[in-house]
Amino acid sequence: MVDFGGWEMPQQYTSIRDEHLAVRRVAGLFDVSHMGRLIVEGHDAEVYLQGLVTNDIAAVQPGHAIYTLMCRDDGGVIDDLIVYRQAKDSFLVVVNAANRDKDSAWMREHLPRGVALTDRSGELSLIAFQGPRAPELMPTDRPTDDIEYFAFRQGKVGGEDAMISRTGYTGEDGFELFIATPLVGKVWDAILESGKSAGVLPAGLGARDATRLEAALRLYGNDMDETVNPYEAGLGWTVKLGKGDFVGSKALAAVKAGGPRRTLVGLQSEPASILRHGAAVKAGGRTVGVVTSGTHSFFLGHPIALALVEVASLRVGDRATVEVRGREAEAEVVKLPFYRGSARSAVAPSRS
């Protein structure tokens, strides 16, 4: 067990290797209840969120969700989050565990009269069932084919009420399930029981980090923080400058116009050299950046990493060296994502 954002969570239940492979081949079950769940409601809720986040909330219909960033005035990223529109005037906002207090304080600071912000992280739990066979193996009252990617509805899982959302952090098809806390244990057990013979495993932080990295999904705190803007993080697609002003929009417009000074690239190396967070990245004999996230992929069979480097210093196909335990290890710049799983990408824009 490790401390993750103030929560005690398992790195693995059995082995990172077995759990990682289970997620890619069958399905894995993650307890992600550490994340913050905030409700934003009121007549002006949409306008309020629209002015606070980078993506276009007005374009989100009830029953749909959107991935977005929330930035400071200077364009630095405060958090990445998903906004679920439950009704015209009601939104569920899911934020990173480590940022729950920071985000709540920021959101309250900007809260107008008539909009209510309620933290429901305690009453509502969140588990994620992810993998190519998750839809088939989930014990639910009716088929989930009707739920589009980044859409959600109510239903029953393991006999209990759940908000079933076709979202996730692994690059695989699957669901995030919001369940009343007193019932989540029963649903957890029911899913594992239902999928046991097929090879479903409970999966911890190690498998979570490896799969999201393979899918090139960013991890706040590693790949971006308040000193990084969305364009540097390769998340410019979440910034809709055309929607009107929002906190940070002026700064971001300037970055977009001039071009970001840094960029996130994908690196891979030989099994001998795990490229770790903080390691210096060199190209052409000089340091051009730093590894932001890195791990060994048991699925792909080699280490993978994201690195924030000077723009144009490294392009796909180039070789770089990365400092590993006091020596310079060879790495190659590769296209992202490292792996494209079974996640449906209906009309989701292509990501960098």
């Binding site: 790195q11 693995q12 082995s15 990172i16 290797r17 190690g206 490896a210 099994p271 001998a272 795990i274 791990t295 060994h296 048991f298 280490p303 335990r325």
Partner: protein, 125 residues
Amino acid sequence: MADRRYTKTHEWVTVDGKTATVGITDFAQAQLGDVVFLELPSVGRKVAVREGFGVVESVKAASDLYAPVAGQIAAVNDKLSTRPELINADPYGEGWILKIELAGGLPSDLLDEDGYKKVTEAAAH
């Protein structure tokens, strides 16, 4: 000596005649998590007691390996280059790391089962 002996740095050793077999303990493999890679010495290299002879790397961290006995490396477990997970699955059996031809006797401060148990109890939080 059929029994295993241990070091404070979580290596184990068993001796058969003049040959010592060395690995890392179950406690060590559990702390490390899934082993990904080992940096091991060549056969023929001489090692002194407590000399660093290699590195075991897991997703979490890289850990140095220290020789529990002095001698010459007689064999390295080749299986570990393609199946490093043997160290997690069977740390005292198929997950053996090295065989060393002993030069002289065993160090007097090697721990027995109880002695090592005390070390792990102190280390675990």
